[in-house]
């Protein structure tokens, strides 16, 4: 889902940078409100998100798909803004140091994977948590999150032939279904299963990480 340079036209790129500026601003403000204890934790979680993207999962057609981890971080940290910042930083590191995703598309990529994905995933999880249990809710959240993000990316591609010809050549009718189907069938289930297992695992092994924020803070500083 990492959009490289040259796929999106300059207007689209600039538009998403403009959209992301207030979101990043708000995210950093949220961050500064957090306990200073969370800062190093967020640093290692960002590393974690980077590494999670490297777990390629085999899918039936013989290729692999990877998850983004945004929903997972939002759920585990109980704050989607934290996921936005973590995923954004990962995407910047990937764009600059690893050539994964374009520098001009950082805005768009951050919007899809760092905003749409964790927020949709997190709120689906919150909505379902008390109905189906947190493990299944987290899986559904991750699924809906990654598919929605993929549809957004497909929409951005599909817009290009209409507003800025010469970039991504495929209209909505091609790009949206292509992105959606790939993620509905491959990365989506993978993200769902893996997110659910991680939530189940952490719940089982370190239930204390799921206690409410107030308890956590007093527990550490006691």
């Amino acid at each position: 889902m990492h959009i490289p340079d040259g796929y999106l036209g300059p207007i689209t790129c600039a538009f998403f940078y403009l959209i992301m500026i207030p979101i990043w601003y708000k995210g950093i403000k949220e961050l500064k409100k957090l306990d200073p204890r969370k800062l190093p934790l967020l640093g290692v979680l960002t590393a974690f998100a980077f590494l999670v993207m490297m777990f390629n999962l085999p899918v039936p057609d013989g290729t692999t798909a990877h998850m983004v981890g945004g929903t997972l971080i939002a759920i585990l940290m109980d704050n989607p803004w934290v996921a936005t910042i973590a995923i954004s930083i990962v995407l910047v590191i990937q764009a600059i140091f690893f050539g994964d995703g374009g520098i001009t598309c950082i805005g768009a990529n951050c919007f899809n994977m760092g905003v749409v994905l964790p927020f949709v995933g997190y709120y689906v999880y919150k909505f379902l948590r008390n109905k189906v249990g947190e493990v299944i809710a987290s899986g559904i959240g991750a699924y809906v999150g990654i598919v929605t993000a993929a549809i957004c990316a497909g929409f951005e591609f599909g817009l290009q032939p209409f507003i800025e010809p010469g970039y991504c050549p495929y209209p909505f009718t091609v790009s949206v279904p292509a992105m959606a189907i790939a993620h509905l069938l491959t990365a989506g289930p993978a993200a769902a299963v893996v997110t659910a297992i991680v939530v189940w695992y952490v719940r089982k092994v370190r239930p204390d990480l799921f206690t409410s924020k107030e308890q956590q803070v007093s527990g550490v500083n006691a």
């Binding site: 695992y201 089982k204 092994v205 370190r206």
Partner: protein, 280 residues
């Protein structure tokens, strides 16, 4: 004696181009304990990974029970099953081996692939009991002590009754009690006919071995542990047992003494040569 491993002219380069191993030759025979010694960065762990078919040499060959280990062989379902069952690898850091939610599930991982469900359950329980960690079976590996983790990681390997056990620094970061337990375990492996290869920089542990190799990218020594002391051990940055150091120093001062490697040897030796006047 039956040859288990034959390593011929094996070299290995890291992806970044630096050399880990250079023309390594070694042989390991059935029911031996062999120690591979060497300083940090000598390529010991890489050699062990090659022996476990996890990475493959850049040049040279490695044979296991006469068969050449190659990527192709390990892709063959039947051959892979046989090899993975026969050879167990205990990693240095038990955390990398333990990520199932309970100790029981962790130990049952390999048996469940190999045996029928009933037999797998039986084997798992048996191994846990033999290792005296049955009481830990429902615990999460995450909150075990270092020594317990090590024992669980060894149990994971033992549950499929391997013939060959490869161990990477099995005593590092353990407290003295667990260290002794692990050393007793290694002895018991030999008694039950297994072949053990230990990688370490601790000479105390190496004293268990029948033979040892000293590795520093190349094999620079090959023989009995006792004969090691003719090398410049300081340069190799090996952990010489304090008892040996004591007698090496006495030798320097002009005393004509043997160099014992273990405390018991030293006690026996001193009893022989000590003047009786000090005896109560």
């Amino acid at each position: 004696m039956k040859e288990i491993y034959k390593v011929v002219d094996v070299s290995y380069k890291y992806p970044n181009g630096s050399t880990a191993l250079e023309d390594v030759n070694l042989n390991i025979y059935k029911n031996e304990i062999v120690a591979i010694l060497g300083p940090n960065g000598a390529g010991k762990t890489t050699l062990l990974k090659i022996m476990n078919g996890l990475v493959f040499p850049s040049s040279g060959e490695i044979y296991f029970e006469g068969k050449k280990l190659t990527d192709e062989i390990l892709r063959n379902k039947e051959l892979m099953k046989e090899f993975r069952r026969k050879v167990g690898f205990v990693f240095q850091n038990p955390d990398v081996m333990l990520f199932n939610p309970t100790v029981w599930e962790e130990v049952a991982f390999s048996p469940l692939h190999l045996y029928s469900k009933e037999k797998a359950i039986e084997k798992t329980d048996e191994t846990l009991k033999n290792m005296k960690i049955y009481h830990l079976k429902d615990r999460h590996p995450y909150n075990l002590s270092g020594g317990e983790k090590k024992k669980v990681s060894i149990s994971c390997i033992l549950s499929v009754e391997p013939d060959v056990i490869l161990m990477d620094e099995p005593t590092s970061a353990l407290d003295p009690k667990s260290r002794l337990e692990v050393m007793d375990l290694i002895r018991s492996f030999k008694d039950s006919g297994k072949t053990v290869v230990i990688v370490t920089h601790d000479l105390n542990l190496a004293c268990l071995a029948d033979r040892c190799y000293v590795l520093n990218k190349k094999v620079i020594f090959d023989g009995k542990v006792k004969d090691l002391f003719s090398l410049n051990l300081d340069e190799l940055n090996l952990d010489v047992p304090d008892v040996s150091k004591l007698f090496l120093k006495l030798k320097e001062r002009g005393y004509d003494v043997d160099i014992p490697t273990t405390i018991d040897e030293a006690v026996d030796y001193l009893s022989k040569i000590m003047p009786q006047k000090n005896k109560k």
